[in-house]
């Protein structure tokens, strides 16, 4: 199993959610985070010079999937999250060893 962590623009969240739904990926966990990438945020012109907004609010989507579903989820997210401008975000995939479904006590693929 894999854990997919996607850090995306807040305003894209809705589109991503719908696209994943259509492909059958309903389950997800979402949180609000602040982030910055290599570009160090965004620079604004102020009367007194340039001012840098370093951290910008983003949405973090966490989805746990079976190995076979990983690529399709990643691709779906990329498709909908992409604007082409700086700040589109990142997706990280990492290994997961076990999953438990609390309600039933099931583990493994059935638990996801």
């Amino acid at each position: 199993m894999k854990k997919i962590e996607a850090i995306v623009r807040e305003e894209r969240f809705h589109l991503i959610k719908i696209a994943l739904e259509e492909k059958g990926f309903i389950s997800m966990t979402v949180s609000d985070i602040m982030g910055r990438g290599k570009q160090r945020g965004i620079s604004l012109k102020w009367r007194v010079g340039e001012h840098r907004i370093e951290f910008l609010p983003k949405k973090k989507i966490e989805i746990f999937v079976e190995d076979k579903d990983c690529q399709i989820v990643v691709d779906t997210i990329i498709e909908r999250a992409k604007t082409g401008a700086v700040g589109d975000g990142k997706i990280f995939v990492s290994p997961v060893e076990e999953v438990y479904k609390i309600r039933t006590g099931e583990t493994g693929p059935e638990a996801i």
Binding site: E10, E11, H14, L15, M34, I42, L44, W46, H51, I53, E54, F55, L56, P57
Partner: protein
């Protein structure tokens, strides 16, 4: 010169303070309705009018509006800087309270009228541009219209247009201008894009509505300019219309969805708007039909508008423009002979009053719309109306004011 009455003066002083409080109230009513990242900028657009118009009014605004008239069109500058406006009563307006009190009372109306407009342009208009707009609009639109309708020499006043506390001058004026400015400005970039652009703090909307309702007693019952039966009548009409409209709106929102809290708050405000021109001219119980009527008008106007690409963001036009229009006409219908010291309204068989009300309404609609388009266009071509796309997406709090409402910068 007639003598000062301490009771009337006490009522007018407190009414003035009450109307002042409406502007911070409005700042919260509006501020709660936008996204977190634009909360301060929205609040600021209202709050700054307290400073800006507060200064301009004593300098020249009062003189233009209420000063000696040049042909019923505009005042001259003989009262510039409160020249001749002192502790003694005016011989024309509110003759039992100090002239300064009447001046201050009217000031608070000018302040909130300008603040009202800003609800249409939140989340995207440059702060410097709204500031310049406010100065120009106040001078070129508010003062003339106030002159026409309320100056004892104003041409609409002389025609017999009834506007007890500001249906045309305040609400139609602000609402129609808001629409014009929103059209010029274009929608927010996230408008109708499936992004949640809803209220970030509904309790703020409620506290705003609460303070507006409270302050509106000064607005309407204070417009009696004395403390007595007329103030009492306007007071009760005001509360009744607000209550009826709030309740109606609650049921309407329930019918289509759920009884929302922002719905009942908006309904209350719509009721207060509609009763404004009528408050002292109608029998208080007429607040009920007026309240019900305005809730229907504004509710459906809002639904309709929301189907278009017109992003008149916080429904200033739907609420104040349409509500004020409804109220102005309702005044022509429900005005009572007893209270208008005249022929009353349609229900008293005086159909002419409806005509006069319609005329005043159309005049203010047209004037406000065209002037606002003009002022807005000039600003657009010179300094620009909108923030950049990047600034809009970061939010105006940080990009325009360098602050964040809830201290969540890192």
């Amino acid at each position: 010169m007639s003598a000062i009455d301490t009771g009337n003066t006490a009522w007018m002083l407190i009414s003035t303070a009450l109307v002042m409080l409406m502007t911070p109230g409005l700042a919260f009513f509006y501020g709660g309705m936008v996204r977190r990242k634009n909360a301060l900028s929205t609040i600021m657009m209202s709050f700054m009018t307290l400073g800006l118009i507060g200064v301009l009014w004593v300098l020249y605004g009062y003189s233009l509006s209420f000063g000696p008239s040049m042909g019923g069109i505009i005042g001259d500058l003989s009262w510039f800087g409160l020249n001749g406006v002192g502790q003694d009563p005016s011989t024309i307006y509110a003759t039992t309270v100090p002239h300064l009190v009447f001046m201050a009372f009217q000031m608070m109306f000018a302040i909130i009228t300008v603040a009202l407009i800003t609800g249409a342009v939140v989340e995207r208009m440059k702060f410097s541009s709204i500031l310049v707009f406010a100065v120009a609009w106040f001078t070129l639109v508010y003062c003339p219209v106030a002159h026409w309708v309320w100056n004892s020499q104003g041409w609409l006043y002389k025609l017999g247009a009834l506007d007890f506390a500001g249906g045309t001058v305040v609400h139609i004026n602000a609402g129609v201008s808001a629409l014009a400015l929103a059209l010029l400005l274009g929608p927010r970039k996230d408008y109708h894009k499936g992004v949640n652009i809803g209220s970030h703090n509904v309790p703020f909307v409620v506290i705003g509505a609460g303070l507006l309702w409270f302050g509106w007693f000064g607005f309407n019952a204070g417009s009696a300019l004395t403390s007595g039966g007329l103030a009492a009548s306007a007071f009760v009409a005001t509360n009744t219309a607000a209550a009826a409209s709030a309740l109606t709106w609650m049921f309407l929102s329930w019918f289509f969805h759920r009884p929302t809290v922002s719905g009942i708050a908006t309904g209350a405000v719509a009721g207060l708007v509609a009763i404004t021109p009528a408050a002292g001219f109608v029998s208080p119980i007429m607040g009920i039909p007026i309240g019900i009527g305005v809730a229907l008008v504004c509710f459906f106007m809002m639904r309709l508008r929301n189907k278009t690409r017109i992003d008149e963001s916080l429904d200033v036009f739907a609420c104040h423009g349409m509500g004020g229009t409804f109220g102005a006409i309702a005044t022509g219908i429900f005005a009572s002979t007893a209270l208008t010291a005249g022929a009353g309204g349609l229900l008293n068989g005086n159909i002419k009053q409806v005509g006069i009300q319609l005329l005043a309404t159309v005049v203010v609609w047209g004037f406000a719309f065209i002037m606002t388009l003009g002022i807005g266009k000039v600003i657009d071509l010179t300094m620009g109306l909108r923030v950049s796309e990047t600034e809009e997406s970061i939010g105006l709090d940080i990009s325009q004011h360098g602050e964040s409402a809830y201290g969540d910068e890192l």
